[in-house]
């Protein structure tokens, strides 16, 4: 078949696909997407799992390793029939959080951390590289099959050039389709429809070849079964490690491959479609695998020795002269390769632009969301460049690896690479304790091991790693050999890399998560993801809204497009009950807007943009600490206020007490004044009366002498009273002259008791003393001290109302002070007047007549104050008790 016709058929096929996609897109925009949203379309779009690897490579795989090729389809089958566990949750999370890619899922789960987004993006891009190279290789090989078959000698370009042309063509097609618009939901109805059509084409093509082989070449089912047991394939050895390991890695890959995530989660229109796909997709896989073994068996028996088993699907019909069937098979293979490359490139470019280009651009232009410049244009341009770059990487890998390896072995390298995302993903949706530190540690560990043990050695000896390094380890370190880490040899390289990368990845993820503490945003997102079925509203709401609706609108227009943005704002305004275009920037509205924007630029970027406009309204840990600091200050201040108010209350209480005392004193003073008037008046009256009698001339001498005596006594009493008053006044003003001398306290007490004994001498009065304690020298004004003692003892003699009055005198030495207690056994002094007894003019009873006018204790207090000591009433001693304190040595 002429090369030109082949190219023409390919181009026509692409044009038809383009048409299908275009129509689907128009219908979706026009709101007539009904049949686009069928579960069948969803299931068929999942078939991009079956790439050229399946279409061509599975037969080659079966020819080389028997039934092992089935593991690649049995793993996904298990995941899909177990949809209730993981797929249902992933799809629900993807829809609730408007996840745009697998990198976005991980970034969003771990606190919208862009770092993780970058790590996952890098892993995904590098892991996709061999996979895209595989597609280029298969398309190039299939062109080559037709070329070698034509004797006309049409100029088929060399393989490298064909691959380059295919890569460029695919890049163009993907750019034309995938980046025509920037959809808020990151959904591509046109693309999905096109790959559904391609899914049908490749299934029909493979089934047609299979039917042709079973009933056209061989003689039906029984013959094929007999041929299977007779063929070299029957000698295949089932390696348990590879069987289980490959089933696992394919099950992991279908969850973590960026393109699978794209069609499975991002493009999902209805959760119920997952239920349909749970049986329909395994059915599709089963049908795709059904004829693989027969084709391989027949190919091995009829094709010449040494022909490439990867191409049996094409070469068997060609060798049997079925040119049209071969062309159909070629289109099937072409479909498989192109659909994979297109969706993978779109998914990867979304990740690259959302997690690497846009954040970089935002970081380089601080505060730029407001500045002129079209974010939409930037995002679209970065996606176009990313698509080109992804394909360029794939081509580079193809070029470097030489384009000769078996297809399946290339694909498995990719699978192990993307499987590194699995621990972070599963941990993220099932374990609230998973943190971004753990996720980053796990991802980086797994990625590094995959790179070192599988990806770099895949370029062959002396490719990117030297043969010596592969054989002996870096610097001759034996246990670091890329194919025998830690000295464990005997595993095949793929299984070896899978085992170590997954073990250490999971280990690092768990240890990192257990030993770190997640931030507030991360914890919110953790709850939102793990408990997705418990809630409907998203977390991380904007608590304050400094963002102006107008600013938000102008930014959103640049991302969503003017029409779309205005429609969204209008709908929100209507929902808030406001007319016009601008809704109030309520937290709810801003959260919705953030999710809407996240559909276009990813969660982390959208969060950052809103944060810029709202003036960083999200509560950071620093903010929380600042708030806590303020609260602490306020608390301290209020504690101070409380202390002050307590102090005020104390002062007020003291003032009230003082006031009460003053009032009482005033009453006392009035009482005293009348008393002293009386005291003065009584002697004055008798003096006046007797002096008048004396003035009479005929008074007998003895009478005169008697009256003069009375007058003399009365004047002495008056003088004593006035002396006391004078003395008190002097003492109070601290003008008293002290005669300091030394004396034994015991002697002073002796003198005082003797002197006081003439007060009510008729009373029976016992004084109890402990002489041994009393001997101590005191330096003080001994006369004044004696005066105090006399007064206290006289008071006891006067007022003690006990039948058998006893006065106990106790002396103690306390530091530099002597403490002398006078305790009698009377009824004591009532509590209410205890505070008053030392005041001037105080009198307990008006009936007292035995000395002075109640100045005694006041004078005592003043004397003691002058001597540097004190006298106070000692309550609770069973009687009246006074305590005199006195410094042993009076300081001058």
């Amino acid at each position: 078949m002429p090369f030109n016709i082949l190219v023409a058929v390919s181009l026509t096929y692409v044009a038809v696909l383009f048409g299908v996609a275009f129509v689907a897109e128009r219908r979706a925009i026009g709101g007539r997407a009904g049949w686009l949203r069928l579960p069948l379309v969803y299931t068929l779009s999942l078939s991009i799992y079956c790439t050229a690897w399946t279409f061509y490579g599975a037969v080659g795989y079966a020819a080389r390793s028997g039934l092992e090729f089935l593991t690649i389809y049995l793993g996904p089958t298990l995941v899909f029939v177990g949809w209730w566990w993981v797929l249902r949750k992933l799809v629900r999370i993807g829809r609730a959080q408007r996840v745009t890619s697998i990198a976005d899922l991980i970034s969003s789960r771990y606190g919208k951390s862009n770092f993780l987004g970058v790590v996952v993006t890098v892993i995904a891009v590098l892991a996709a590289t061999p996979y895209i190279a595989l597609q280029l290789q298969s398309v190039t090989l299939s062109f080559g099959v037709f070329a070698s078959d034509t004797p006309e000698g049409w100029a088929v370009p060399d393989q490298g050039a064909t691959a380059l042309w295919v890569a460029a063509g695919l890049a163009l097609f993907t750019i034309l389709f995938g980046t025509r618009n920037l959809d808020a939901n990151e959904r591509h109805h046109g693309i999905v429809m096109a790959i559904a059509v391609e899914a049908v084409v490749k299934l029909i093509a493979l089934l047609a070849v299979g039917l042709f082989v079973v009933w056209g070449v061989a003689g039906g089912v029984a013959d094929i079964l007999a041929r299977i047991d007779a063929s070299p394939i029957a000698d295949w050895e089932l390696k348990p490690g590879r069987w289980a390991g490959l089933t696992f890695v394919s099950a992991a890959a279908i969850l973590t491959l960026p393109r699978m995530f794209q069609v499975m989660v991002v493009e999902n229109a209805d959760e119920r479609h997952v239920a349909t796909a749970s049986w329909a997709f395994p059915l599709y896989l089963m049908l795709m695998s059904l004829f693989v073994v027969p084709i391989a068996v027949v190919g091995l028996s009829i094709m010449p020795e040494g022909s490439n088993p990867d191409l049996f699907v094409l070469t068997i019909p060609l060798s049997q002269g079925a040119g049209k069937l071969a062309l159909l098979a070629f289109l099937g293979g072409f479909s498989s390769a192109t659909s994979m490359v297109i969706v993978a490139a779109i998914a990867l470019s979304t990740m690259v632009s959302n997690h690497i280009v846009t954040p970089l651009w935002l970081a380089l232009r601080v505060g730029s969301a407001r500045a002129p410049g079209d974010v939409r244009g930037l995002v679209l341009m970065s996606r176009r460049l990313s698509i080109a770059a992804v394909l360029a990487l794939g081509y580079t890998y193809y070029h470097l690896s030489g384009g000769s390896a078996a297809l399946a072995s290339i694909g498995l390298i990719s699978f192990v690479g993307v499987a590194q995302v699995l621990p972070a993903m599963m941990g993220g949706i099932y374990w609230r304790g998973a943190t971004h530190v753990g996720a980053a540690m796990g991802l980086i560990t797994g990625f590094a091991i995959w790179l070192y043990c599988l990806f770099l050695p895949s370029f062959g000896p002396n490719g990117l790693l030297s043969a010596r390094l592969i054989a002996e380890g870096p610097f001759g370190i034996d246990w670091l050999r890329p194919h025998a880490l830690f000295g464990i040899t005997g595993l095949d390289p793929l299984l070896h890399a899978l085992l170590w990368s997954m073990l250490l990845n999971t280990g690092a993820f768990l240890i990192g998560s257990l030993s770190s503490f997640p931030g507030p945003m991360e914890r919110l997102q953790g709850v939102a993801f793990v408990n997705i079925f418990d809630q409907s509203s998203g977390p991380g709401s904007w608590t304050r809204s400094a963002a102006e609706a107008e600013d938000l609108l102008s930014m959103s227009q640049r991302i969503l497009g003017a029409e779309e943005a205005q429609r969204f704002f209008q709908a929100q305004a209507t929902a808030q009950g406001k007319a016009g275009l601008l809704p109030d920037p309520t937290p709810d509205f801003i959260a919705r807007l953030e999710r809407q924007l996240a559909g276009s630029v990813g969660a982390a970027t959208s969060h950052a943009m809103i944060a810029q406009l709202s003036g960083g309204t999200t509560v950071s840990v620093q903010d929380l600490i600042a708030v806590a600091g303020e609260a602490q200050q306020i608390k301290e201040y209020s504690a101070q206020l409380e202390a002050k108010s307590e102090e005020l209350a104390r002062t007020a209480r003291a003032l009230r007490e003082a006031n009460e005392k003053l009032t009482e004193l005033s009453v006392q003073k009035d009482g005293f004044l009348s008393q002293i008037s009386h005291e003065l008046r009584t002697p004055m009256t008798s003096i006046r009366a007797f002096s008048e009698i004396l003035m009479e001339s005929d008074l007998p001498e003895d009478m005169r002498a008697k009256y003069a005596g009375i007058i003399h006594d009365e004047t002495r009493r008056l003088t004593r009273l006035l002396d006391d008053l004078l003395d008190l006044s002097v003492l109070e003003n601290r003008k008293v002259q002290l005669n300091i001398g030394v004396a034994n306290l015991h002697d002073i007490l002796n003198k005082a008791i003797v002197a006081a004994s003439n007060t009510r001498p008729e009373r029976m009065f016992v004084v109890q003393r402990d002489a041994s304690t009393e001997h101590m020298p005191v330096f003080t004004d001994t006369d004044r001290l004696l005066q105090v003692f006399i007064n206290v003892i006289s008071n006891a003699r006067k007022y003690c109302d006990a039948e058998r009055a006893v006065l106990r005198i106790e002396v103690k030495k306390r530091g530099g002070q002597a403490q002398i207690d006078f305790i009698d056994n009377g009824s004591g002094i009532p509590k209410k007047v205890q505070a008053l007894i030392f005041e001037k003019f105080a009198r307990l009873t008006d009936t007292s007549h035995a000395g002075g006018a109640g100045l005694g204790l006041a004078i005592c207090r003043e004397i003691m104050a002058n001597l540097g000591g004190s006298i106070e009433y000692l309550p609770g001693q069973g009687g009246a008790a006074f305590r005199v304190r006195l410094p042993l040595k009076l300081s001058a």
Binding site: L78, V81, W83, W84, K89, A234, R272, W279
Partner: protein, 99 residues
């Protein structure tokens, strides 16, 4: 919250619960069946039996597909309101744990 959960469910919701159990168990069942060939060691049998292996694996596959078909038919309609109360009483789903 044991007090908010009814002790017995209506027949329909009971069936639905058991279908959820079944769909959760299906992948484990499938895993066991698909790992069984590990015990055969096909290359060591005197008679080549790869054809029988093919028949076994594809039969298992079809059984899984049919089981998934039946279960998804039963579960899909109520998928979006899976967490809503099914019977008049306040009935809550024992939320799906880890897997």
């Amino acid at each position: 919250m044991p007090q908010t959960q009814p002790l017995f469910l209506a027949r329909r919701s009971y069936r639905r619960r058991r279908m959820m159990d079944a769909v959760r168990l299906l992948p484990f069942f499938g895993t066991v069946l698909l790992l069984l060939p590990l015990l055969w060691r096909p290359a060591e049998t005197p008679e080549p039996d790869t054809a029988r292996g093919v028949i076994y694996l594809f039969t298992t596959w079809v059984v899984l597909i049919i089981a998934a078909l039946v279960l998804s038919r039963g579960l899909a309609p109520g998928l979006l309101d899976a967490e809503e109360p099914v019977s008049p009483g306040p009935e809550t789903e024992p939320h799906n744990g880890a897997g």
